[in-house]
Symmetry: C2
């Protein structure tokens, strides 16, 4: 059995995963703060608890940030205010089995590639559309790591005009295709804030709301550019959309695919399929548990 831990923006989700990718047992823990030491203590407690019941041969942790050394002793997560933390060393004093630490979107990409909607492919891309936009890529069966700052596809610049991103640039994919962007664009169209989450925008879209219609089109046009850029970069066989916004995939699938098809570089080429996450929020746990397979 493997223990997968998914460190998120508001809580720590974790579970025991078997060799077929099934989550045997799972739970989560709210994180009142992100103090490094407290999070480490919590992770060790979780391991010790499960280790009494299961034969844990591998621990994997997905983090919302950059694992600059590829091991986990140089972990930086902007949203947790972690800078160059030695997570691997802190854990390995108390956890006796191998520990793999990687980016959370990379973990989700691994999960979908091994067990989900990208199963069987060697060249895959996953975009998490949540508060921000994360990404994971597998090329030729190997993970493109976030080491050295790569795989930050949410910060690929696709436009000259637009909202300023938290990273300081203008035109990042994230400023058009995250839940935050959808909410902001909808409310800006009205001039007053009327929705508080992206699901509400999609609800209104279904009910024929004009502003929601315009917002969803705007989102799809920009997400299409992001997908076209992936195609022109390494032409993945499948692009998987994950994260909160992806739950509305059946509503925006046709609009998105039409916007992508309008922009393909070579119409003679069969570009990658666009699919929705199969594993939803379990992808983070499952992928974390299998990070070791792509190190």
């Amino acid at each position: 059995m493997r223990l997968g831990i998914d460190l998120g923006g508001t809580n720590l989700a974790y579970g025991v995963v078997d060799r077929t990718g099934q989550v045997v047992v799972r739970d989560q823990h709210a994180l009142p703060n992100y103090l490094f030491g407290d999070v480490v203590t919590l992770m060790i407690k979780i391991y010790q608890q499960y280790a009494t019941q299961y034969d844990i041969i591998q621990v994997g942790i997905g983090v919302p940030g950059i694992v600059a050394d590829g091991i986990g002793d140089d972990v930086s997560c902007v949203n947790l205010a972690w800078q160059n933390q030695k997570l691997h060393s802190a854990l390995s004093k108390h956890i006796k089995c191998p520990i793999s630490i990687g980016n959370d979107a990379n973990a989700a990409c691994i999960a979908e590639t091994l067990f989900g909607n990208m199963k069987g492919h060697q060249n895959t891309a996953l975009l998490t559309l949540g508060t921000g936009v994360g990404s994971g890529f597998i090329i030729g069966g190997k993970m493109v790591t976030s080491q050295r700052g790569g795989a930050e596809f949410g910060h690929v610049i696709i436009a000259e005009n637009g909202y300023r991103c938290n990273c300081g640039n203008i035109g990042c994919l994230e400023t058009f295709t995250s839940a935050t962007a959808i909410i902001r664009h909808y409310n800006d169209l009205d001039g007053v804030s009327t929705v508080g989450n992206a699901a509400q925008v999609f609800d209104r879209y279904q009910r024929g709301d004009d502003r929601a219609f315009e917002t969803v089109n705007w989102f799809c046009e920009h997400l299409a550019v992001g997908i076209i850029n992936l195609y022109n970069f390494f032409a993945p066989e499948v692009v998987c959309l994950a994260g909160g916004v992806s739950r509305a995939f059946p509503l925006f699938e046709d609009t998105l695919k039409e916007a992508v098809n309008r922009r393909v570089f070579n119409r003679a080429i069969q570009y990658g399929k666009i699919v929705q996450s199969a594993l939803d929020d379990a992808a983070g746990i499952i992928g974390a548990a299998y990070l070791s397979e792509f190190n």
Copy 2:
């Protein structure tokens, strides 16, 4: 010895390359047309000529297009009006040693990575700034192939406004950073066409011409976005600029690097160096000769 053949827009360049990457002998042949059969006949003649003088153990061909099957029996080059040509089969009837066929920018990337200014690195990117913009990427020591239509980084979309690209889209990197783009932008600023090539723009830049200054800044700002997008994709250790425009690198290096540094996602990370091609137009021949090493 290896025979490297670089199929270009106006001529066929070729040479015999030794195991240290040195071009022992080279020549080129103007291409009055691009009829597939004629080009094949010419390539066979070149091979036969050199095979009498050298022990040719490998033939490699770089083509300005997509090798969709990864072998060379599905070669499409828009500018040559080649669609799904069986180049490998046509050659292998007459050439008895192994033949590797790949994208020309990929070949240049291989040459610079093995023998040029990206030597010793495992994660490299090369952009050819010529009539169009080509690209080659090596990730973890493996080439990202143009198979399935990937590595067309010149067609990554970086803006919403701009010239329409030959590919049909608006905002492709190529429409801002190719020689064609530089010439067009300069002449548009004036309202009349006054330069016929990019070198003239850089000459005028050196002489303090205002329009040339504005054009070079415009070029650097957009090329910087392209490089930032590479960083956020896979964070290459080195980005190498090749092609005609890159010969002016010493003139625009500082402006470009300043524009890149202004946009990096994480200032704590040491992103890849930006260098000029060391092998210049020999890169196509040398890289073609070594395509087999990255297949």
